[in-house]
Amino acid sequence: MTPGDFPADRLRRALHAEAEQVVPAPDGLQRIRERTSAAPRPGLWSWFTGGWKGPLLAGAAALTMAAAAMTATPSAIDRITSAGNPRETGAEPLPKSAPSTSAPAAPAGTPPAAGDRRAAPASPECDSATAAPPSPRTAAPSPTRPTRTAPAPSTAAPSSPAASNTPAAPSPPAKATPTPSATPGTALSETAPDPACPEAAAPHATPLSSPPATAEPTPTRSPDRDTRPSPTPSAPTPTATLTTPAPADTPKPPTPSNTAQPPD
């Protein structure tokens, strides 16, 4: 047989003869068993992520995350805007609520009924607002109380004492001080909504409720419990009124009313 006609049969014979001499060890299966038993078995996770399920699960997870983010966004935005930009948010409602409340309150402030209606819707807000921040209220009210017009009622929401005070409170000189500012006070009250809560609570009490009416808006803004920020925005205008009333408060007898209110 020449190499030129080297046939495939020759190669085949050689290969088979060579292979015939190969005798594998008899413990091959045992070795394989040991290795397969030692190797981690494909469990649920491999089934879970195997083949096309992996990308599918990844897509589903991405959709779930996106949905969660979308649903969570509104509340998160509200919180951010309310906490981060209290002035802006407060500024808008202030003018709106202030004029609305002040307009009817000042003119119709004498008629407690009108004030009541205005205050009625506001009162719940104030209640909720006052409930959370009683300490600041009480602090603010004490000065406003004297004016009777403003803050005292807010905490006084428990106005039952305020009602009893009404006869006494209005009569005191405090009213006199507000009255001069009354005409301007209306304007001021429009701009300064601080006493809002007081109005709602003690609208019945005094004709001076006009300032309190102005105060209402502040609670509406700050209703969130962050009373601090809301008052500050309204503070500029009301501060004047507050400062003026403050002296009136200290001398006034309403102090007892104030003292009475905290217990409420």
Partner: protein
């Protein structure tokens, strides 16, 4: 035993093709352990021999085949068609044999030379000269050509099966086979 071309594999039952081409459809119902047991009984020896022809070392060939069985056991769930388990085993054996030869080439490259070829001396003393010459010439061929020749003339696989096992195209199988045969012929001519 009658020899023939792999194209008439269906008509020619050889011991190798008999065992390698058995692919019972009942494998679909097996679990991994059953598949290993059943395929071991029918395919282990031929696969070890095939690997031995590729890697020229029985112990290494056994390791290669055992690795293939372990891999098949781990991939049994992913084998969508259990009937292709044989092809999977064969392909794994070829791939791992390549890795062994690649590793061996690196080792031999940096190993001190001068070691005698003990196996060739032993085989030369035991087996007939012609067969030894052919096998020796076979191992001088490039890996791909040797794989193609062994898969075709020992395992009696068709071109499609060889292409599947080697991971190449059928045209490449033809090319490797033809070039391998020509190179083998040249080597034998030089030896003679």
């Amino acid at each position: 035993m009658r020899w023939g071309k792999p194209e008439d594999e269906g008509a020619r039952p050889s011991d190798v093709t008999e065992t390698l081409l058995v692919a019972p459809s009942a494998m679909a119902a097996w679990d991994a352990d059953q598949a290993v047991t059943e395929l071991y009984g029918s395919q282990y020896r031929p696969l070890v021999r095939l690997a031995a022809l590729l890697v020229r070392d029985v112990a290494t060939a056994e390791e290669v085949v055992q690795d293939a069985f372990v891999a098949m056991h781990g991939a049994w769930r992913r084998l969508r068609d259990p009937d292709k388990a044989l092809a999977y085993l064969r392909q794994t054996v070829v791939n791992r044999a390549r890795s062994v030869l690649r590793h061996r080439a690196v080792v031999e490259k940096y190993a001190p030379k001068g070691l005698p070829d003990v196996q060739s001396a032993e085989t030369g003393a035991i087996i007939e000269l012609e067969r030894a010459a052919v096998i020796k010439a076979l191992h001088t061929l490039p890996n791909r050509q040797r794989e193609a020749l062994v898969l075709r003339y020992y395992a009696d696989l068709s071109e499609a099966q060889i292409a599947d096992a080697m991971g190449i195209s059928r045209g490449a199988v033809k090319s490797h086979t033809a070039r391998g045969m020509a190179a083998l012929r040249n080597v034998l001519e030089q030896q003679s």
